[in-house]
Symmetry: C2
Subunit: 441 residues, 2 copies
Amino acid sequence: MTDNSQHNRPRVVVVGGGFGGLQAALGLAKADVNVTILDRKNHHTFQPLLYQVALAALSPADIAAPIRSVMRSKKNVEVLIGNVVGFDLERRRVRLEEGDEVPYDYLVIAAGATHSYFGRDDWAQLAPGLKTLEDATEIRRRVLLAFELAERETLLDRQHCPLNFVIVGAGPTGVELAGAIAEISRHVLTQDFTAIDPRRARIILLEGGPRVLPTYTEDLSASAQRQLEQLGVEVRTNTMVTNIEPGVVWVGDEKLESVVTLWAAGVRASSLGEAVGGKIDRSGRVVVNDRLNIEGHPEIFAIGDVAHFEQNGAPVPGVAPVAIQMGQYVAKEIRRRVQNKPSRPFSYWDKGSMATIGRTKGIAQIGKIHLSGVIAWAAWLFIHLIYLIGYRNRFSVLLNWGWQYLSWQSGARLITGSDQLPGWHYHHDTETSEQKKRAAG
Amino acid sequence: MTDNSQHNRPRVVVVGGGFGGLQAALGLAKADVNVTILDRKNHHTFQPLLYQVALAALSPADIAAPIRSVMRSKKNVEVLIGNVVGFDLERRRVRLEEGDEVPYDYLVIAAGATHSYFGRDDWAQLAPGLKTLEDATEIRRRVLLAFELAERETLLDRQHCPLNFVIVGAGPTGVELAGAIAEISRHVLTQDFTAIDPRRARIILLEGGPRVLPTYTEDLSASAQRQLEQLGVEVRTNTMVTNIEPGVVWVGDEKLESVVTLWAAGVRASSLGEAVGGKIDRSGRVVVNDRLNIEGHPEIFAIGDVAHFEQNGAPVPGVAPVAIQMGQYVAKEIRRRVQNKPSRPFSYWDKGSMATIGRTKGIAQIGKIHLSGVIAWAAWLFIHLIYLIGYRNRFSVLLNWGWQYLSWQSGARLITGSDQLPGWHYHHDTETSEQKKRAAG
């Protein structure tokens, strides 16, 4: 809005600086358009590695980069930190809080998704999910404090809460979190504490469906469960959580004590998908056509986790590669339209998917190839290193990342923010007999 | 309290895991005592580099280490995270919150100092100080957000708050902060923004006394002021702040608009110095004798910023080298007492002092040698690298630190926590005429 020489170019507004939004903006660099990226945060987060920040293997700065830095050399791209509250489709305006508006000629909605507690928003405080750097440091704080308080109680000659960590949901995030907590308790923290044995921690992974990582084939799900169990994770499938209270997770009538409860069960698209007024699916995603356009609005695209795009009769999954390909497509499609070239449809090229379980375990599904264990993990590591190089390029230190990853850098094991856990930590009378039986068994 | 074989050894309780406390505990490793370190935080912070976290050059994990990791191989040392609220000198107990107690035979109070607002605690929210990692990330958030919001207002075709950064107090911390803000605005952020020119930021350093860095000699103070001015910092000495309001700092009748105000003017010893019941000086430090003991209590030591120790007729300053030497002394003195060897007095060996101003400037005073500019800065860097190696040894990556330091790693430029600055940022009507005059001048 400041450079008058470019006032007549079409303005592309990208809502969201995640994988999809960043790719769309990068793909429009040097195109004959002006681009504005809107985001609430000043940084792009490499979400696939968030769980490593949560479990103290990496620092926030290792997996995030200021959007402004990523766009530094893109002269036609401006970055605006702000909270999008809605759209005026008639006047082609994005509405920000405080009544501010940003005009657009093309709009790319890449606002992502957040946790869904299925209507039980009161669970959010009791069982945080993992979507942002703040989520990750909060989870880290809770997990590390649980061990610290157990040590403290023991040193003061008292019983401590049983070190039960309950993870709700066995999709990729739940599996990563469970595997990582198992590993730090079995391998990383063991030398740090003098009074407690962190290896006695129980890690309980609850899944409502019949198997872990349900988007994979059955053989890979079974392999993932075996690998989790090798790490010491207790996997319970077909198990629905009925209530969450401070220090307790209820599964029907069964009361599970839980010193830290983590939520990885539900995801819901950003409400901006709904705000744009198109058809919405059950997860709040807005339905897009084969140009990734909202129906009736060829100037509005929705991409990534906020978009419902069907291919071969099923919606494509909400994963980073989909968002990246969609962002790249939208940039090319907008370039084509600006240059009056023929439009082309989007199609997702599934390069396979992989999930990691701890440091040397994982599963991978690449076409007909199914991998398990250390080979899958190595493939996962390789792919993520490649991605990270691409994303963090100039401003990153790959060496550093590799070193921290492999050495479990302890500098990252910092508890910041409040020093307190909820009060029920301090007044734990004694273990229940059930609990004692389990600990002994 | 768990190892029965060592129940008859004297118990040393160290309150605080800063420089002094850590040295005391490390010095007692393998001695014939049991050591307990009490701290509210789980990590030791390398405070001399905190300002670099605040100004986004380093990440929290680069300058902090879990106390537990530092003590990992020290089998007679236990670490307990807890909030010390007082002491029972009669029964030799440290009192924690919730009524918990920890018994001691020797007590080392190394609880440090915190900001003092001279009775105006309402200023704390308006002008944060810099003592903890949380302080550092809060300052980072405010400084980076100020630039982000100025960019945003400009993109939305509005006036933004003048980018005035006011730092109150020109001791080492104030000088470091002012120099660092000047550098990021002049050198680091310039390429990131499209609508604003960060170089137009004003950095105003207010000092109540007649010169900056008043603990140094006059020639070095004058040099420091010149170096600050070369960086673009406006230095105003003999200037007392009379009030701080949202967005405004008052100096008598003069109203200074301030988008971010930082407090580096006053320090007060931890109240635990007073809680132990000895004689207290004006800054709340407890007076200790030449054994660093509280009067009448040879079993109680106070060290570091919480202790008032006089040498050559003046109290030694509240700096890291003093705390470190005191901690080392106390460890040796306790060893001597346990072994029934003759006691020896403490004396501080002043190796000189140095302050840094930006990346290549500084002053140093080593005996009769006075250094300025890049040589002083190089000396500062060398000393701090040596210290860091000692502190972070096995678990640190010096290479990484050097790289980040030299490259202004942008990954550290993350704004975490709330996205909001106080409301007065959003409704800035227009620059005052005074302000415009200044900007033009």
